[in-house]
Amino acid sequence: MSNRKNKVSVLLGSILASCEESTFLLSKRPHEKLRLKETVKVKIHLLTCHACRSFVKQMNFLLKGINKLKKEDNLFQLSPEEKSQIQQNLRDELKK
């Protein structure tokens, strides 16, 4: 009986993931192909877990935002003072 119970929990363990494990796999997913078993685990978990769905949605939004920022050329500029300081240091270096 307990043997059978063990088998059931091993089987469940192989398809059910905790929030911790799921968010770990979800953090990895944009960068590396997950194994089939991991993909299944994450999918099942997300079906039932609202908090992890929020995690994924918000994380994807952040990554999308970052990609938009990367395409911007002129969002931030050096102040004139900072520029002239860098320029001055570079001139000094050029003279050496």
Partner: protein, 188 residues
């Protein structure tokens, strides 16, 4: 047709661009300024090795990129993650579940219009609060787009440590963005 380097004009022509590039990747203003300056110095020393195969800007950016990787290597070499992330229940029947005070909020960021500049400011602030090794993994992977192998080699860490630190980085970054975002909305 080969490109000729004009160090006299570097600051005028490229410093804002390089600054924008560095600001996205380094979250301390002083460090950003130092890196820009060093980039120009290194470029000056390496002038002879410039073959004119790329534009001046591409060449300078490549030098800055190398500087950024070195910056993180100095800060995060050989680092290992702590045992616990602090986000999940550590024992008992609910082990691995979110701790109640750290569950991701219901809000969807998407419905909020936000200026790019403001977004960058909040993001940078949150990234500056991460432990350096977590910031290193997030920045090099999600912003600088280095491969897993490259990051492990540069930082001298195992891939499993990389994924654990990246996990922690994302947990904390998401939480911070939520707090700052909400915090701001309350003030308005």
């Amino acid at each position: 047709m080969s490109v000729i380097l004009e160090p006299e004009n570097w600051v005028t022509d490229h410093s804002d661009y390089l600054y924008g590039y560095a600001v996205m990747r380094i979250y301390n203003k002083e460090d950003v300024l130092d890196l820009i300056q060093e980039t120009f110095f290194v470029a000056l020393k390496a002038k002879e090795s410039f073959k004119g195969e790329s534009t001046e800007r591409t060449w300078l950016t490549a030098i800055l990129k190398r500087k950024i990787i070195d910056y993180y290597r100095n800060k995060a070499s050989n680092s290992t993650p702590d045992n616990k992330s602090g986000f999940f229940i550590e024992s008992g029947r609910k082990q691995g579940h979110w701790k109640t005070d750290r569950i991701p909020g219901n809000m969807s960021f998407e419905n909020d219009q936000i200026e790019k500049k403001e977004f960058q400011a909040i993001l940078n602030n949150c990234l500056s609060l991460l432990p350096p090794s977590w910031a290193a993994t997030f920045t090099l992977r999600s912003i600088e787009d280095l491969t897993t192998e490259e990051i492990c080699k540069e930082l001298n860490i195992s891939s499993s440590n990389l994924w654990t630190m990246l996990h922690r980085a994302k947990l904390q970054l998401r939480e911070c963005m939520q707090l700052k975002w909400f915090g701001k909305r309350k003030i308005n």
